[in-house]
Amino acid sequence: MWLLTVTLGLGLGTAARFVQRGDAAAAANAVAAANATTASVQTVQATSNLPYQPQRVMVLPQPSYRARATTRMS
């Protein structure tokens, strides 16, 4: 249990430093590396008619840095 706690703490601490630098991708990666169960990661594939490459989209269990917008029911 303590090992899990330390691992989480290290990961989230690293994430916090990235957040302070405004490095969103690094912060998200750090959170994911710290505890894969707290962040859901999914690769979104390119579609045939759009010039997008497969991308990693992540869902964090709580906001980790400044959001550009909030999506909600309207």
Binding site: Q55, Q62, M73
Partner: protein
């Protein structure tokens, strides 16, 4: 009891206090499409003007070419924008086997949704009216003809269509439209988008890589009233009784994200329709959070 009612019974009817975050810069903020709009990026004035112009053509809440079509059952010549938006909505109906259809307006009125939200709902008694077959709509040249008794509501499909179209007016690597929670974003850097919790608990956060993304959220606890809400299930002609109370879909194209969110509400088992070009996050009425996995199954998020 509908899922939305179960949720209200548990959490109370008071709306959640959303944690608003708006982008910095010279964003344009205004009310349109029945919601609050944010347009941000070079060309924002042009995009905002286009949005208002399209709303004036496609709204059902004040006299417009769409209401003229609904009143008379046909319109010729119809504005090309109405033809294009309706053509798109019919393609969505085909894509979803009629589950996401623009033909539910009579049933929506029966359920109580007559006027622009948040007007007081006015539900009617008796059986809900029929939902016309979308395949009966005829678009020939510059004219549109509806099946007998049919009326059109472009709803969320129309809103996402408008937002995507206006987004094309925005230049530069950083651009953004928030149409009441339906978001189109382009950025050279990773972007965070919060997903508001349906009952006001702490939000989740999406982390999107650099690029262009559409994020759509739909649910049954917004624009809802005791015994009803705005999402009509065309199979029952009544407000949908759903497993999820809120769904957020991510896709490079907001229009597809909107369809996927609606489809996840109306038919969450239809995983094949989602493909791998999207990510979908859903909330149940008891607060359970789910994500559609790459294998098409729903997993805890």
């Amino acid at each position: 009891m509908h899922a939305a009612d179960r949720l209200q019974a548990r959490w109370g009817a008071s709306p959640p206090a959303w944690l608003e975050r708006v982008p910095a810069g010279d964003a344009r903020r205004f009310h349109a499409l029945g919601t609050d709009i944010v347009v941000d990026g070079p060309g924002a004035d042009d995009a905002a003007a286009e949005l208002l112009r399209l709303e004036a053509i496609l709204t059902r809440f004040r006299p417009s070419p769409l209401t003229a079509l609904n009143d008379h059952g046909e319109l010729s010549p119809a504005p090309p924008e109405l033809i294009a938006a309706l053509t798109y909505a019919l393609s969505v109906a085909e894509q979803t086997d009629g589950l996401v259809t623009p033909m539910v307006l009579p049933a929506l009125r029966w359920a109580g949704y007559h006027r622009s939200w948040p007007a007081a709902p006015e539900p009617r008694s008796g059986e809900p009216p029929a939902v016309a077959d979308w395949r009966g709509v005829r678009i020939v040249g510059h004219g549109i003809r509806l099946p007998a008794g049919a009326e059109i509501d472009l709803g969320g499909t129309g809103k996402s269509w408008i937002a995507e179209r206006c987004f094309e007016r925005l230049a530069g690597p950083e651009a953004h439209i928030d149409a009441g929670g339906d978001v189109v974003s382009r950025s050279a850097e990773p972007v965070a988008i919060d997903i508001a919790h349906p009952v006001g608990e702490a939000p989740l956060q999406l982390v999107l890589p650099a690029g262009r993304w559409g994020i759509a959220t739909s649910g049954v606890t917004g624009r809802a009233w005791p015994g009803g809400h705005h999402l009509i299930d065309p199979r029952t002609r009544r407000p949908a009784d759903t497993r999820f109370v809120q769904v957020t879909a991510v896709h490079p194209d907001l229009r597809q994200a909107e369809v996927l969110a609606k489809l996840a509400l109306l038919r969450p088992a239809a995983s094949d329709a989602f493909g791998n070009a999207s990510m979908v996050v859903a909330f149940e009425a008891d607060g359970g959070r789910w994500r559609r996995g790459t294998d098409g199954r729903w997993v805890r998020a």
